[in-house]
Each structure stands twice: as structure tokens, then as C-alpha cells.
């Protein structure tokens, strides 16, 4: 068997693929966080819970409404995004004029409520969501086995990330978002309905988290706490990429997934901490993050 540094190639590629899949989720989630932070300046602590709600909604939809995977992928982000819109309109907006740390506290509280409610109803042990039939099985690439569903997750996450990036960088609406991020008061003086833009942006960020949740349901156990463990890593990714940088969030998400995968191969003990080590080094050398603008 071919080896590299004494590691079988199959194992290496397998871990890299796992890392890339994790990275795709980091990218989707940190993208949503970055978009929300950019305009609202609120660190959305409910992001993990909203991702979890996405996965749960898919699971419950399948069980009780026979909502199939593809419909769930479309409908669940809309429903959870609408919940996000309500949260912004009726809760976050009330505290937008005071210190943004209160937004962090509020969303943290919401996350606890969502998680606690679901723990009460369904317990902490996870359930599994079946892989949709079309995406069952896999390909033998010769050097490794690639499950079809994982390939799909990677492609879907990348397409959504790149589409979002394109929308923000190249469209009129995206220009509003970028300008609103810089100077919302002036945007409003130009006649742009900034409060509406803020509401829709939060809804969109939340919908992205729910989309990631549906994508994740067939891979990871669906449990009320699935989001909170992930969220800490995603925060680190956003800090490494640079707060509020869209492309930074996407690329850093993928890169951190890969680094984590590589660490699992060469020094498994550090796999859970390597991202935080990277964060420390980046903060020391470039406090605004890899893609952040110099303050």
C-alpha cells in the first residue's frame, strides 16, 4: 500500500475529505455569521441553534409530514429564516441602539431556549436522518471511496457560498449590503430602507444556517446540542478570516476543515485544538484576521 510519511494514502485522503466536508459546514455557517455581523454588528450566538433547528425541522418534517429531503432543503431554510426575521423585527431591533454586546446576550439566551425546549421534548441522544436514495452509495476513486452524499454536500455548500459571495460583490442589492455595513445612516439618508435591509439580512443569515442544518442531517446525529459544539469552532473561523469578510469566511472555513483533517492524520490528539492554535497565531500576527481590513 502506498504511504506518505508512513501514513497510508487511503487514510490521508479519507481524512482530507472528512476535513473538507467539515470545512464546507464551517464555511456555510461562518458566512452567515459574517453577513449578519457586517450589517447588524451583532455576534449571532443563536447561529448554532438555528443550524440545529434546520436539521431538526428536516427530521420532524420527514417523520410527521413526510416532507422529503429535497423539499426540506428548500422549505426548512425559508421557515427558519422567517423565524429569524421575527427575531430581528421584534427582539434585536429593540436593542439595536444600545451596546451590541446586548445583541450577543439576547441571541445567546435564544440559543439556550431553543436547545432547552428541544432537549425537553426529544432528549439529548441524537436521531439519524436517512440519506436520500438518489445520493446513497458512492464512487471508488481508486485511491479512496467517496460516498455520494458527501460529494453532494461539498458541491451544494460551495455553490451556495459562491452564489452568496457573487450576490454580495456584484449586484445592486449586494452593494446596498456592503454600503449599509460601512455607513447605515448615510444609506438611509439616500432613501434606502435600512431597517428592512437589516431584517432581511438577518433572515438570510439564519436561512443559511438552517440550510447547513438540513445538509448536515444525514451525516451527523441530529440532536439539540449539535449546533453549540460546532458554533465555537465557527467563531474561531470567523475570527481567523476577519470579522465581516465574506470571502474570508468561506476560504477560511474550508481551510480550517482541511487543517483539522490533516491534524487528525498526523497528530490526532491536537485535532480539536488546532483551529484555536491557528486563531491565536493569526490574532498575534494580524489582529484584523487574514482577510480583514486594517482598522
Amino acid at each position: 500500500m502506498t504511504t506518505i510519511f508512513g501514513i497510508p494514502l487511503m487514510v490521508l485522503f479519507g481524512q482530507l475529505l472528512l476535513g473538507l466536508i467539515n470545512g464546507a459546514f464551517y464555511a456555510l455557517l461562518s458566512l452567515g455569521l459574517a453577513v449578519i455581523f457586517g450589517l447588524l454588528k451583532v455576534i449571532n450566538f443563536a447561529h448554532g441553534a438555528q443550524y440545529m433547528l434546520g436539521a431538526f425541522a428536516a427530521l420532524l418534517g420527514l417523520e410527521y409530514l413526510e416532507l422529503d429531503y429535497w423539499l426540506a432543503l428548500l422549505i426548512v431554510p425559508l421557515v427558519v429564516g422567517a423565524l429569524g426575521i421575527l427575531i430581528e423585527r421584534f427582539l434585536l431591533r429593540r436593542i439595536q441602539h444600545i451596546d451590541h454586546l446586548y445583541g450577543l446576550l439576547l441571541t445567546f439566551g435564544l440559543a439556550l431556549i431553543f436547545e432547552g425546549t428541544l432537549v425537553n421534548l426529544f432528549g439529548v441522544s441524537g436521531s439519524s436522518y436517512p440519506v436520500p436514495e438518489v445520493l446513497a452509495g458512492g464512487f471508488n476513486l481508486g485511491f479512496m471511496f467517496l460516498p455520494t452524499y458527501r460529494a453532494w454536500v461539498l458541491v451544494a455548500a460551495l455553490v451556495v457560498c459562491l452564489f452568496t459571495w457573487f450576490m454580495i460583490e456584484s449586484t445592486r442589492l449586494g452593494a446596498y449590503l456592503r454600503a449599509g455595513t460601512e455607513n447605515p445612516k448615510l444609506m438611509q439618508a439616500f432613501g434606502v430602507n435600512v431597517p428592512l435591509l437589516v431584517t432581511l439580512t438577518y433572515g438570510f443569515g439564519v436561512a443559511l444556517a438552517a440550510f447547513a442544518g438540513v445538509l448536515a442531517a444525514p451525516i451527523y446525529p441530529v440532536s439539540p446540542t449539535m449546533g453549540s459544539s460546532l458554533l465555537i469552532v465557527v467563531f474561531a473561523v470567523v475570527v481567523i478570516g476577519g470579522m465581516g469578510s465574506i470571502l474570508g469566511a468561506i476560504l477560511t472555513g474550508l481551510a480550517m476543515g482541511l487543517i483539522e483533517g490533516l491534524t487528525k492524520v498526523f497528530y490526532p490528539e491536537a485535532a480539536n485544538t488546532v483551529i484555536f492554535l491557528v486563531m491565536i497565531v493569526v490574532l498575534l500576527l494580524r489582529p484584523t484576521g487574514l482577510f480583514g481590513k486594517e482598522a
Partner: protein, 249 residues
């Protein structure tokens, strides 16, 4: 230069033109600070009116209060016959108001053309992108550069140009000549004359009295958050001494 400017006043608004803006007993606050203490003035359609005064007299705050960008305000602000004291900020622009802030407010994450196209159209009859590039050729040459890479003068042109596209016919311009080279100031003066001949109404907050004097139909002098004096262009020559004393120039 002066002769062109003097001639421009021939195109002045008639005295009986309808009011475009009337501000009555305007008070404005930032937090607990009470900045404006009852400002009264009016501007007729097609007029160019200046707000003169020392730093801190409340001129910038007056413009920001009209745009509903202060924390709290009271009194009355009628734009085009409509009371706007309870109008949300994003609806003010739609009454045909274009605002050019003192700090210019060019967006760094947008290139020049994106900055130009950013403010939504509020009325028909705005200048086309081609018209604007014809008026500001520099902006055309640099249309793909990030907005904040431009020189100070070019940024000022951009800040003015982007509100001309929207169809706004009441322009609130805050210290547009501040810190700019004389040649750019002269260009801005020519631009203002063109805007006047297009029938635009302009409220100009200005420190540079020599720039403003030949352009304006009337001047309002502010001190301590109030208008203390109104001077028409015709009265200006006889009042220069007094004005210099008030402005400290």
C-alpha cells in the same frame, strides 16, 4: 472667474417662487446635548442659500436634522409643502432631497461607479450617468477604482455627483470646499452654477465665504444654534465688515 460667477446670478430664482423648504423653530439634540435652539429659515425653489457661521454654530446639525439624522428634534420642517418631522429618514430622500455630508461618505468597499449608482432614484429627471461623466471627466477615468482611493477633490466630486443622478432637486451640501485645492474649488463653483441653471435648489453650508458669496442668492448667519441674521446678495457689499466680524475671518 468672478465675472462668470457674477453673471450667474442673473439666473436667480424669482422672489415669488414657491417655498421648497421651510424650517420653523427647529430644536435638535444629540443625546443630552441640545444643539439647535430654534432655527428658522426658508428656501424658495431654485434658490441657492448658504448657512454661514463659525465651527460649532450648528450648521451641520441643521442639515442633519433636516435629514432626520439626529437623535431627537422638534419644531417644523416642511419640504415641498409636506411636514416631515415624523418622517423616517429613508423617506426624506424620496421627497427629492439629496444630501452630501461633510465627511463625504464615500464607500470604501464600492468602486467609483458603484458609489455613483448607489443612491436609489427618488424622482425622474435626474442626470444620466453619461451627463455626470461629462460633468466630471475624472470620475469616468477612475470609475473602476475603489471609492476611497480617489484624491480628496475627486471624492468630493463623487459625493456631489451621486446625488445628482437620483433626481433630487433640493441639495443639502455640507462644506464641499473644505481642504481642497483652489483649482478644485473653482470647478465646484462652476458645477454649482450649472446646477442652478438646471433649477436646483441648494442649501450650502460653507466656511469659505469668498467661494459662497458670488454664488448665493441669500445668506443665513448662524450662531449658538440659531439664525442670527439674513443677508440677501444685494445687501452683501454693505454688510461685509459686520459679517467678517461674526465669522471671525
Amino acid at each position: 472667474m468672478t465675472t462668470t460667477l457674477e453673471r450667474s446670478r442673473a439666473a436667480s430664482a424669482p422672489k415669488d417662487a414657491p417655498e421648497q423648504l421651510r424650517v420653523t423653530d427647529l430644536h435638535a439634540f444629540y443625546g443630552e446635548s441640545h444643539i439647535l435652539h430654534g432655527v428658522d429659515f426658508e428656501v424658495r425653489k431654485g434658490e441657492l442659500v448658504t448657512l454661514l457661521g463659525r465651527n460649532g454654530a450648528g450648521r451641520t446639525t441643521t442639515l442633519r436634522a433636516i435629514m432626520n439624522m439626529v437623535d431627537r428634534r422638534s419644531g417644523s420642517i416642511v419640504i415641498d409643502g409636506r411636514e416631515t418631522l415624523n418622517t423616517p429618514p429613508h423617506h426624506i430622500a424620496r421627497l427629492g432631497v439629496g444630501y452630501c455630508p461633510e465627511e463625504r461618505g464615500i464607500f470604501a468597499s464600492l468602486n467609483v461607479e458603484e458609489n455613483l449608482l448607489l443612491p436609489p432614484t427618488v424622482r425622474s429627471g435626474g442626470m444620466s450617468l453619461d451627463d455626470i461623466y461629462a460633468m466630471f471627466p475624472n470620475l469616468y477615468e477612475r470609475r473602476h477604482s475603489p471609492g476611497t482611493r480617489l484624491s480628496g477633490g475627486e471624492q468630493q466630486m463623487l459625493a456631489m455627483a451621486r446625488i445628482l443622478r437620483t433626481g433630487a432637486d433640493l441639495l443639502l451640501l455640507d462644506e464641499i470646499t473644505e481642504g481642497l485645492a483652489p483649482v478644485i474649488v473653482q470647478t465646484l463653483g462652476e458645477v454649482l452654477i450649472k446646477l442652478k441653471t438646471r433649477g436646483m435648489t441648494v442649501v450650502l453650508v460653507e466656511q469659505n465665504f469668498r467661494f459662497a458669496a458670488p454664488l448665493a442668492d441669500r445668506h443665513y448667519v448662524m450662531e449658538h444654534g440659531r439664525i442670527i441674521e439674513e443677508i440677501s446678495a444685494a445687501e452683501l457689499p454693505g454688510r461685509r465688515e459686520r459679517l467678517h466680524a461674526v465669522l471671525g475671518v
